[in-house]
């Protein structure tokens, strides 16, 4: 993987855990945040975090999506700002967890919430800072106008580029020289941004945004925090991150089959991916390799059959025969639940020319699954198109062809002499998929 979003909670926790190393005592951050998940025993929270009973609170979902204020998902007032008690927050969270919500067109359930003290502050103390990465430089965005209006005030945001080879003195100088003029305590703000940037760089952040950033004297309140880490740096700075989670973000709930494959993938050294796009679709794919799987999906769409594309997925990295069998069975199970009103369903068993993978061996797992599902495949009406190349492909193609014919399942097989995606065109044309 690479850049991955982290929860606001984890972002602030990482900030707090490394605070002394980067900010010393020159800045003060009183980290008070609780992450509430479906597993949290809400009645125990006040024991571990007594402050929830002592201060007015803010509660909000912590699931990577933004614009929570505009979505009405930041709970900070009943009648007036700052009158939310722990009991109120608890009830609100329970209620929000129970109802289905729609975020950016995706329906699902809210599961993770952040509860923090409500910080009353002056609008004029709200700043903005964000840091992101470019090719040869990092980019810092600074503004005296933080909060939800930052986008409307984007012209007031100062953008500075820090070359990745810059020395500490150079970094400091670039920041100091570019601090927006309307920031009250420019020196303090510059110092804070400089140190935050150092943390950003050392801890392999890919993106970091604090908005609003409230600064009162040397007290810092990062009221909202958005962060992405480069997860490949785990080996280098994992200790400084602590126990960080890389959630998938708000999305539709996984189907049991997708969950099953995901769990298998996590346990395996091989890569096994499955996403159901349209369970009633006619075209199902079993593709080896990440690049090839994209190309097959592209081609189905580019040839005008995207509505019938049932799934996206791939298997690669030398899965065992059992893993392949289980993966294929899952797809077979899904595709044989009902007949398609317009004709046979199509199964694309595709792949590019393998480097060193023994093609015949990988087909064994597919053949195993085919034997188990032969009756169902025939009942549903499934036609198979195969295309693959690489070591031992002739044997593999012969085996899968013979197995399908013996079972009475229609099949066409092709090797590297046929263009990789030609079977998609054939399948669409021959079966009049439109």
């Amino acid at each position: 993987m690479a850049q991955r979003g982290i929860r606001e909670y984890d972002g602030k926790r990482i900030l707090a855990q490394n605070w002394k190393d980067y900010f010393g005592d020159d800045f003060v951050y009183d980290f008070k945040s609780v992450l509430i998940t479906p597993e949290t025993d809400l009645d125990k929270v006040p024991e571990e975090h007594p402050w929830v009973k002592e201060t007015p609170l803010v509660a909000k979902p912590d699931m990577l999506f933004g614009k929570r204020g505009k979505l009405g998902l930041i709970f900070f007032k009943k009648e007036k700002p700052g009158d939310v008690t722990w009991e109120d927050a608890k009830e609100w969270i329970k209620q929000k967890m129970a109802e289905e919500v729609e975020i950016n067109g995706v329906k699902g359930h809210l599961t993770h919430f952040l509860v923090e003290p409500f910080v009353p502050h002056d609008q004029s103390d709200e700043y903005y800072v964000a840091i992101t990465t470019g090719e040869d430089e990092d980019i810092i965005y600074m503004s005296a106008h933080g909060g939800i209006e930052v986008e409307e005030n984007w012209d007031k945001v100062v953008e500075v580029k820090i070359p990745i080879t810059a020395s500490d003195e150079e970094i400091k100088k670039i920041i100091e020289e570019n601090v927006p003029a309307d920031i009250k305590d420019k020196e303090k703000y510059a110092e804070f941004v400089y140190r935050l940037y150092k943390l950003f760089r050392d801890l392999h952040f890919a993106y970091l945004e604090i908005n609003p950033l409230v600064m009162v004297g040397n007290k810092v309140y990062p009221l909202d925090f958005v962060g992405r880490l480069d997860d490949t740096a785990q080996f280098a700075v994992g200790k400084k991150w602590g126990n960080v989670e890389f959630p998938a973000g708000f999305g539709r709930d996984l189907s049991p089959e997708e969950k099953y494959i995901k769990e298998m993938d996590e346990k395996s050294g091989a890569s096994l991916k499955l996403t159901i796009l349209n369970p009633k679709g006619r075209i199902w794919t079993l593709v080896a390799g990440g690049g090839a799987s994209v190309v097959y999906a592209d081609t189905v769409a580019d040839l005008g059959a995207v509505k019938e594309l049932a799934n996206y997925g791939e298997y690669s990295g030398n899965p065992s025969r059992t893993e392949t069998r289980e993966y294929v069975k899952t797809v077979f199970d899904l595709m044989t639940r009902e007949r398609h009103p317009e004709g046979d369903k199509i199964l694309i068993i595709g792949g590019a020319i393998a480097n060193f993978t023994d093609v015949a061996k990988t087909f064994d797992g597919i053949i195993d699954a085919m034997k188990e599902y032969a009756d169902k495949l025939k009942e549903t009406g499934v036609k198979i198109y195969v295309r693959r190349g690489g070591p031992n492909y002739e044997v593999g193609l012969k085996r899968i062809k013979e197995a399908a014919e013996e079972l009475g399942i229609p099949i066409e097989v092709y090797g590297p002499e046929t263009h990789m995606t030609e079977i998609v065109r054939k399948a669409i044309d021959e079966n009049k998929v439109a």
């Binding site: 690479a2 990465t133 994209v294 995207v306 690489g390």
Partner: protein
């Protein structure tokens, strides 16, 4: 070193390979052999390998490639090597690259590791640019200059290399992102044009060391390249640089381009297609937007991946018809000798073996003792005696026999520090020697006079019984013909009145559990004769074990001849050796604990009687 700037590799290119990746190195040498050039890998860097060199095949011949502890050392000995193939893991690949960039003789570094942090990748990239050096990767299979140089595994098997015409230069410059579709594209180009002149996979990471344009600008200058094929991906903006360069006239040769990931527009951010780097952050980064930009810039862009071959064929045929692309005379390809291991697997060759093993097998998932997996030995509670049964006699002994063997081992395990074997062990240990040396002196003492009575008793009692000698006849025979005391008869202090408890236990056990104690019964008859002469001429523990082992094997179905073979092979003695080794180890450890000084035997314990017939000078 005199190759033009636009070439990273030619037929003389020499490489240092970081990491002892035997398969990849062998594949490079196989390629070298097929294209008829000298071996391209001149040195290997493997800091943790204890070896000075490794052997590889070049054709049928074996060659030695030196192994170094560090890249600078290798580069110092091979200044002509201007390529480093960095096969270090994602943990070390960054340090290896940064170190190699500072070595003046190294110009090109290919980095294969996936999962190098982006900040490290950016540092490597900028450093390389500053120094005017070439990075390929990270996260790539590398690339190939057909007929000249192959990076590690690029191109797959030799069969595929020949089929995709990667063994001789064609006219097409290829750049892809990841290596997964590299073979596929080479194949398409070989089938629809005349093969590639050079191909680079820049890697799937967000910040590749060099990108599409860097290589396409080289192809532009390379007269061998007549057209280019680029396979981009959804995500990032690198493809726009190519579009710009075409527009600006920096690239004038025909470019056929396609960005994969057009599917993503149908499912938005909801579905992750391909790897994480291939995610469009903005409209500009979508495959469609990039395909459109390339099309507008003047590249040949198909409507779908499926039309790519036709498009390549069209451009190729046009250039060919215009005479810009000459015909290629296909070179002869020497066959690569098949690896012995592979040929064996395929059932193509055979060879007589030098050794035979019938007791254990370590080739499967788990080693077995006579067919029984070791885990089963543990799980099913096999005793040490059961293991001895499997490994010494290839049998699962019945419980009565296993229990007997167990008793035998316990009984012979030690006999105090004074007996010669234990004494030797102690003396050796005190001389400061190690475990092996010390116990071996004890074991080497075992023979006809020390511990050998088990064998002897078994042999002579068995012989006498088989020949039908009466106990009296046997005693007389031993005295008059063999002229030795009967092995297994006699004890220093034990006697009929003061019986040896160990012997009693063994006898009682056998009486109760053995199907038959024929030879023991015979030996006890002999004992009656000998003890009538002298009270301490009893059947001793060695004798009892010897005759009972004969009874045991006979009850297990062994014939007289088979039992003789066992005795002659030392199998009976083996019980004593194994058991007593426990004691020897004990004495050795005891000495180590006590840390006694070197032993020197007191002179007053030696009778000096030196009488030599040597004349004094």
């Amino acid at each position: 070193m005199s190759k033009p700037d636009y070439l990273l590799f030619d037929r003389d290119t020499k490489a240092i390979f970081w990491n002892l990746n035997r398969n990849a190195i062998q594949r490079m040498l196989d390629y070298d052999y097929v294209v008829g050039r000298e071996p391209s890998v001149v040195a290997i860097v493997a800091p943790t390998s204890g070896r000075k060199f490794d052997k590889f095949f070049y054709g049928t011949k074996e060659i030695m490639i030196p192994i170094y502890k560090s890249t600078p050392e290798a580069a110092k000995d091979f200044p002509e090597a201007d390529v480093l193939l960095n096969f270090a893991s994602f943990r070390t690949a960054y340090d290896v690259t940064m170190e190699a960039l500072d070595i003046p003789t190294i110009r090109t570094i290919a980095i294969t590791a996936e999962g190098i942090p982006e900040r490290f990748a950016r540092n490597m990239r900028i450093r390389a640019k500053e120094l005017g050096k070439w990075l390929i990767g990270p996260a790539t299979v590398g690339g190939i200059a057909p007929g000249a140089f192959r990076i590690a595994n690029t191109g797959g098997t030799i069969e595929n290399i020949i089929n995709s015409k990667l063994h001789r230069p064609g006219s097409v410059g290829l750049v892809t992102r990841s290596g997964g579709l590299f073979n596929e594209l080479s194949n398409v180009i070989a089938r629809n044009a005349n093969g590639i002149a050079e191909g680079i996979a820049i890697g799937g990471d967000r910040y590749p060391g060099t990108d599409f344009l860097d290589h396409m600008l080289r192809y532009e200058k390379n007269p061998q390249v007549k057209m280019m094929v680029m396979l981009g991906e959804v995500g990032g903006e690198l493809e726009y640089r190519v579009a710009e360069a075409i527009k600006e006239g920096k690239i004038t040769k025909p470019v056929i381009a396609w960005c994969i990931g057009t599917i993503s527009k149908h499912f938005g951010g909801e579905v992750q297609f391909g790897h994480a780097g291939a995610k469009a952050g903005a409209e500009r980064e979508t495959a469609d937007a990039k395909n459109q930009a390339l099309r507008e810039a003047g590249a040949y862009v198909p409507k779908s991946f499926n039309e790519l071959p036709e498009l390549i064929r069209g451009v190729y045929e046009e250039l060919h018809a215009r005479g810009e692309i000459p015909d290629i005379k296909e070179p002869e390809v020497p066959p690569i000798p098949e690896d012995y291991a592979k040929a064996v697997k395929a059932g193509k060759v055979r060879r007589p073996t030098n050794f035979i093993c019938t007791i254990s097998d370590d080739r499967g998932e788990e080693a077995t003792y006579c067919g029984v997996p070791i885990s089963e030995v543990v799980e099913k509670g096999y005793s040490i005696a059961d293991v001895i049964g499997l490994l010494w006699f290839k049998k699962k002994f019945p419980e009565w026999a296993s229990n007997f063997i167990d008793m035998v081992l316990k009984v012979v395990a030690d006999h105090g520090p004074a007996v010669s074997g234990a004494h030797n062990t102690k003396v050796t240990a005190r001389a400061g020697k190690d475990l092996m040396s010390s116990i071996v002196t004890g074991i080497l003492t075992i023979g006809p006079r020390f511990g050998g009575a088990i064998d002897g008793a078994a042999k002579y009692f068995k012989m006498a019984k088989e020949k039908g000698m009466s106990p009296d006849e046997f005693v007389a025979y031993m005295k008059n013909v063999e002229k030795i005391p009967i092995p297994g008869i006699g004890h220093r202090i034990k006697s009929t009145k003061n019986p040896d408890k160990r012997v009693e236990l063994l006898k009682n056990y056998a009486k109760e559990h053995f199907p038959s104690t024929e030879l023991l019964d015979y030996a006890l008859e002999v004992e009656k004769v000998t003890t009538s002469k002298k009270e301490n001429l009893i059947l001793n523990v060695d004798g009892t074990i010897g005759v009972l082992l004969v009874d045991m094997f006979r009850a297990l179905g062994y014939s007289d001849e088979e039992i003789d073979e066992l005795i002659n092979a030392g199998a009976f003695n083996a019980f004593f050796v194994l058991g007593r080794t426990i004691g020897f180890i004990g004495h050795y450890l005891d000495e180590k604990r006590l840390d006694m000084p070197l032993y020197r035997h007191p002179t007053d314990d030696i009778l000096y009687n030196v009488q030599c017939e040597v004349e004094q000078q």
